[in-house]
Every structure is written in structure tokens, then in C-alpha cells.
């Protein structure tokens, strides 16, 4: 039944669109495609062709240097730590904002967007100012032999900060549109809070959550600015993939730089593919509602 209605709606939309003159339609489509091609597709293709210009062997060799392997390992490590943490934080924040009324709620909502509003370089700098050798807490940290800046913990923290909004931003509208009735129903049926969360709330937001997580992951692996400030660029130790690419590029090692860049681009393509898959899935779900 829902399918029939959607098809009818689609048919209606098409007839309305068909009333616009053909040249309007085609020039709009043409402009968008030309723009996308010039600024997105060509550079993406360039990354791969540049990477493969000197042959597959050179391309693969770029991944086999110890520095490249270390960078890939570090990037994965950072993502493995940052993404689950932000999954939990994002879920908690979205839950609090969508389901409860409390003082300071609008402040929290604004704070969630802060990492989007602030330049990543500044987020990195804040960490250096706080935890660096000359920072506020830096001397105390040094006394206790804890190194955060120019080390892996700093990179993880900077990434956490920059990727914080993704999960929460995806979940808040989903949770708000669902309302609290299903949770209330679960409570009156005798479920405790934990059961309500696992059996009712989580299944309801799973697609939004999944979407937020893959976006969060893409950003965690690709983040440059904030990580660049806190990492210190120590080869084999604190270089992530984006930083490694920059170093290779600055050393005129183009083939290797583009090879590693192509790996990050592949990640972006996989993210996009997953995203459209999820959108199709959740569209089907909302269609049935």
C-alpha cells in the first residue's frame, strides 16, 4: 500500500517537473554535473592516476615502507579508540537532549556543534595550550611523566573532539521525531531502563546511529588540521595517514603521496557507498511508517 502511494507521488512529481521547459531542466542538470565533474570527479580520478602513474609495483611499494605502515596502523588505532567513544558520548548526548528537559539543555545543544564551528587547527591548539610543555597543565603532567601532546593520546583527544558532533547530530532529529511514547509503553509493561534502551530505543535509531558512526569514522581517519598541531610529526610514531601524505608530498615523492592518498579516497568511496545503502534502508523503514 505504501509502495503504491509512493509510486503515485512520484508520478505526480514527474508530471509537475515536466511542466518546466526542457531547457531549464537540462541547463540545471548540466551545470550541476559540470561543477561536480570539475571539482570532485577530476581530482578524485587524478589521485588514482597519479598514484598509479609509475606502475602498480611502485604504487604497492608506497605502502610497504615502515613509516607508511606505522601511519596506517596509527590511523586505525586512533579510529578504533575515537569512534566507539564518540558512539557512546553521542548516544548519551542525543538521548539526554531528545528525551529529557533539564537546565542547560540549549547550552549542551550548542556545545555539540562547537567542533563544527571551530577550525580544527584551533581545536588542536587548545590542546597544546592546555597540555603542552608550556601549557596550563603541562608542567604537572611532565612531573608525573605523562606525555599527551606530540604523542598518541593527544592525537586521540584531538580526533575525539573534532568527530564528536557526528553521532549526536544524526541521532537527535531521529530520536525527537520518534517521541517518547514507545519508551513509556515499555515502562508501563514493566521493562526497566536498560531493557527499554536495548529493546526499544536502540533498534529504533539503529540506521541513524550507523550512519553517524561511518561519518564519524571517515572524519576520524581523515582529520588533518587538529591532529597536525598536536602530533609533532614524528615519523613512525605520531604520523597518521593524512600527515604521512603531507610529508611525502613535501619531499616531492608524488607517486607515494598519491598512493597513500588513494587509500584514503577509497575509504571515502566506501563511506559514500555505505551511506547510500543506509539511506535506502532507512527510507524503506520510514516509508512503512
Amino acid at each position: 500500500m505504501a509502495g503504491v502511494i509512493t509510486r503515485l507521488n512520484k508520478a505526480k512529481r514527474n508530471t509537475r517537473a515536466a511542466q518546466d521547459p526542457a531547457w531549464v531542466r537540462w541547463s540545471l542538470i548540466g551545470v550541476s554535473l559540470a561543477f561536480l565533474g570539475l571539482f570532485l570527479f577530476v581530482p578524485l580520478a587524478a589521485v588514482f592516476t597519479e598514484g598509479l602513474r609509475r606502475g602498480v609495483r611502485v604504487y604497492l611499494a608506497a605502502f610497504q615502507t615502515p613509516d607508511a605502515l606505522a601511519a596506517i596502523r596509527l590511523t586505525l588505532l586512533v579510529a578504533v579508540i575515537a569512534v566507539p567513544l564518540n558512539l557512546v558520548f553521542g548516544l548519551a548526548a542525543a538521548w539526554a537532549i531528545a528525551k529529557f528537559e533539564f537546565p542547560g539543555k540549549s547550552l549542551l545543544t550548542t556545545l555539540i556543534d562547537l567542533p563544527f564551528a571551530v577550525s580544527p587547527v584551533i581545536s588542536g591548539l587548545i590542546y597544546v595550550l592546555l597540555f603542552g610543555a608550556h601549557g596550563l597543565i603541562g608542567p604537572w603532567l611532565m612531573e608525573h611523566n605523562i606525555q599527551l601532546i606530540f604523542a598518541v593520546p593527544g592525537i586521540v583527544m584531538a580526533t575525539l573532539f573534532v568527530t564528536f558532533p557526528f553521532v549526536a547530530r544524526e541521532l537527535i532529529p531521529v530520536m525527537q521525531s520518534r517521541g517518547n511514547d514507545e519508551e513509556f509503553a515499555a515502562l508501563t509493561l514493566g521493562a526497566n531502563g536498560w531493557q527499554t534502551f536495548w529493546r526499544v530505543t536502540l533498534p529504533n535509531v539503529k540506521w541513524g546511529l550507523f550512519y553517524g558512526v561511518i561519518l564519524c569514522n571517515a572524519r576520524a581517519m581523515g582529520e588533518f588540521g587538529a591532529v597536525s598541531v598536536v602530533s609533532g610529526h614524528i615519523r613512525g610514531q605520531t604520523n597518521t595517514m593524512p600527515l604521512h601524505i603531507e610529508i611525502l608530498y613535501n619531499e616531492y615523492n608524488y607517486a607515494a603521496a598519491f598512493a597513500v592518498a588513494s587509500l584514503l579516497s577509497l575509504l571515502a568511496l566506501v563511506t559514500l557507498a555505505l551511506k547510500s545503502l543506509i539511506e535506502a534502508q532507512s527510507a524503506e523503514q520510514t516509508q512503512n511508517d
Binding site: 514507545e182 509503553a185 508501563t188
Partner: protein
């Protein structure tokens, strides 16, 4: 027996409930009737444990036990929501089984017992063989019946229904009303339902609680609240009614040149009076019947449906009012728009501002 005692509830500045007390007898089907903002849903949610009264402002008792601040999960209430609130990622079967599955292991029934109970409940709500469907594959009426089966699965002490038929179209709503009444006759569970629809309350409930602005205006059987409204609000809210302005003096109410008995106001001294008469309790004739007849002009006649609806205008002050005649009655009188007739108020109710009962 469920009691709400002296409940007050504020939302910010807004007083949703103002010192409301209500007691619900075991096994009865009670309607909370009122316009939106009257506090009826808030009262229902406080009984359910989904809202709580202001600190120290009232108590909720279930069979004498104080449950005022107990969480909903511990109260054993069944709650049906206006928009059903079915778990949309679960089948009908799993929705109904939910309340049994979330029990602690010690009291959770065996899988075979859960299956037996769910199938039995689905059959009770006339949804046999629908167990594998998802909520989105059901009609609104079917969804609400699943919600009822789900609520009944936990064997609640009381069934609470918040505008249960509010989201359904008129025809399905009527069917479900009758069905709910029938169901209540079969299982006799204490039930409270909230509605803003007077027909629904009068047709389904064994007792009706009329609410307005966070307070109870009247409690009574459907006959009582309809035939003997306690005040002008209840009169206005239950069914259509005509309001005439007149004066009351020594047990007589004066309306234009007519005077009618108003025995409930024997001591009134020329006080302004509001006279309420239902449209079907006005007699229309072509000839005057002396002192008690009021001359009026016919403005409009609508004979569609089982009743003939007539719009009239008083000759003396031009006030408009409505009359409903059965087709039988309308045959005995000439009803031409623009012509003059005489009306007689059969069952009037007089409220005086000075002296109200």
C-alpha cells in the same frame, strides 16, 4: 479500587490539575471527559506513573496502597496511547509478548506459555493469524487492538486508555467503541479512558467524569450528566444546547412575554438567568398555546438525516436558536422558512448568577 486524592500538578506556570480527587470502583469503565487542556490526560498519566503530582500535593492509591511516587514499571497498569506506540521493529506477536519477556527470569513464563498467552490475547482482540505482521502492515483500528492486547498481556490491575480512538476515522471509531464495551463486559477489568468526544464517553462508559480547567465539574452515570448537568459548563459540553437570557423571580422565569416555572429558584428576586434547553426538547406549533408559547420566525429547515434541524429566531429580541424534531413530529406542523411559529420549552434548566444551585 483506585483513588486519586487532592492531586495538584503544575507545568511551569500552568496548573494542569487543581486539587482533584477521584475514586474508581473495581471493574468499572470510567470516562474522563473534557476539552483539551482540562487536565484529563495528566490525571491519567499520574495514575499510570508516567507523571507525578507536585511534591506533597496529592496521593494515588491502588487498593489502599500508596503508589504516588512508584515508577510506572512497578504499578502493573496497562496503558494504551492515542497513537498506539507499538514497537514498530517488532511483529505483532513480539509486541504482545514484550511485557512477559522483560520479566525477571524468576517470574518469566516459559516460551510455550508465552506463546499460548499471546495467541489467546490476539484471539480476544480478534486478530487471529495476524501475529507475524508488523505494525505498519495493520490498519489504525487493528493497531489499537494490538496495543490493547499488549497492555492486557501483563494482567494489569487497571487499564488506562488515552484518547484510544482519537486517531481513527469516524466509522472505525464507532465500531471500536462498541467492541471496547463488549470486551469490558467479558473481562471486567477496571478501566479509565480519556476522551474529548462526548458521544464516546456517553456511549461507552459506566460513569463519566466531566473535567474543565484542571478540575472536576461533575461525576455521574451517562444519564445523570446528560439529563441533569450540574452547571452551565457541563450543559454546554455535553451535546448541543440553546441558551436563552431571561430573568428569574420567585420561582418563575421570564423570557420575553412568556413566563415558565423555575421551581429550583423560589427565592430569586428579579435576577438575571441563563436558560438552557436542548434542541430536541422544544415543541414547535403553528398556533399559540397561551402564556407558555414564544413566537419565533423560521430561518432555515434542514430535513436531511433522521432528525429535522430547524433554525429559528425569536420575534422579541432576535436571538437565534436551534430545534430538532423527529420526522414524525415535523409532519404535524407547517415548516416554511420565513413563516411564524410558536415554540414551547419543554425541559428547561435555569442557572441564575445570583442564586445558582
Amino acid at each position: 479500587m483506585i483513588e486519586a486524592q487532592n492531586i495538584t500538578k503544575r507545568f511551569g506556570e500552568f496548573k494542569a490539575l487543581n486539587n482533584v480527587s477521584l475514586s474508581v470502583k473495581s471493574g468499572e469503565l470510567l470516562a474522563l471527559l473534557g476539552p483539551s487542556g482540562s487536565g484529563k490526560t495528566t490525571l491519567l498519566r499520574i495514575i499510570a506513573g508516567l507523571e507525578f503530582p507536585d511534591r506533597g500535593a496529592g496521593r494515588v492509591l491502588f487498593n489502599g496502597e500508596d503508589v504516588t511516587y512508584n515508577p510506572a514499571a512497578s504499578r502493573q497498569v496497562g496503558f494504551a496511547f492515542q497513537h498506539y506506540a507499538l514497537f514498530r521493529h517488532m511483529t505483532v506477536f513480539e509486541n504482545v509478548a514484550f511485557g512477559l519477556r522483560v520479566r525477571p527470569a524468576a517470574t518469566r513464563p516459559l516460551e510455550t506459555e508465552i506463546r499460548r498467552r499471546v495467541i489467546e490475547l490476539l484471539s480476544l482482540v480478534q486478530l487471529d493469524n495476524m501475529d507475524k505482521r508488523f505494525p505498519t502492515q495493520l490498519s489504525g483500528g487493528q493497531r489499537q487492538r494490538v496495543a490493547l492486547a499488549r497492555a492486557l498481556a501483563v494482567q494489569p490491575k487497571v487499564l488506562l486508555l488515552d484518547e484510544p480512538f482519537g486517531a481513527l476515522d469516524a466509522k472505525v471509531r464507532k465500531e471500536l467503541r462498541r467492541w471496547l464495551r463488549q470486551l469490558h463486559k467479558e473481562i471486567h477489568i477496571t478501566s479509565i479512558f480519556v476522551t474529548h468526544d462526548q458521544d464516546e464517553a456517553l456511549e461507552v462508559a459506566s460513569r463519566v467524569v466531566v473535567m474543565n480547567k484542571g478540575a472536576i465539574e461533575q461525576i455521574g452515570t451517562p444519564e445523570e450528566v446528560y439529563d441533569r448537568p450540574a452547571n452551565p459548563f457541563v450543559y454546554n459540553f455535553l451535546g448541543s444546547v440553546n441558551l436563552f437570557h431571561g430573568r428569574v423571580h420567585g420561582g418563575q422565569v421570564h423570557l420575553g412575554n412568556t413566563s415558565l416555572p423555575a421551581p429550583e429558584h423560589p427565592e430569586a428576586q428579579d435576577a438575571p438567568a441563563m436558560i438552557y434547553v436542548r434542541p430536541h426538547e422544544i415543541h414547535v406549533a403553528n398556533q399559540s398555546n397561551g402564556q407558555q408559547s414564544l413566537p419565533a420566525l423560521i430561518r432555515d429547515v434542514n430535513p436531511a438525516g433522521p432528525l429535522v434541524h430547524i433554525e429559528l429566531e425569536r420575534l422579541d429580541d432576535g436571538a437565534k436558536f436551534a430545534v430538532e424534531l423527529t420526522r414524525e413530529q415535523s409532519r404535524n406542523v407547517q415548516l416554511t422558512p420565513g413563516s411564524q411559529v410558536f415554540v414551547e420549552l419543554k425541559n428547561l434548566r435555569v442557572f441564575s448568577e445570583d442564586y445558582s444551585i
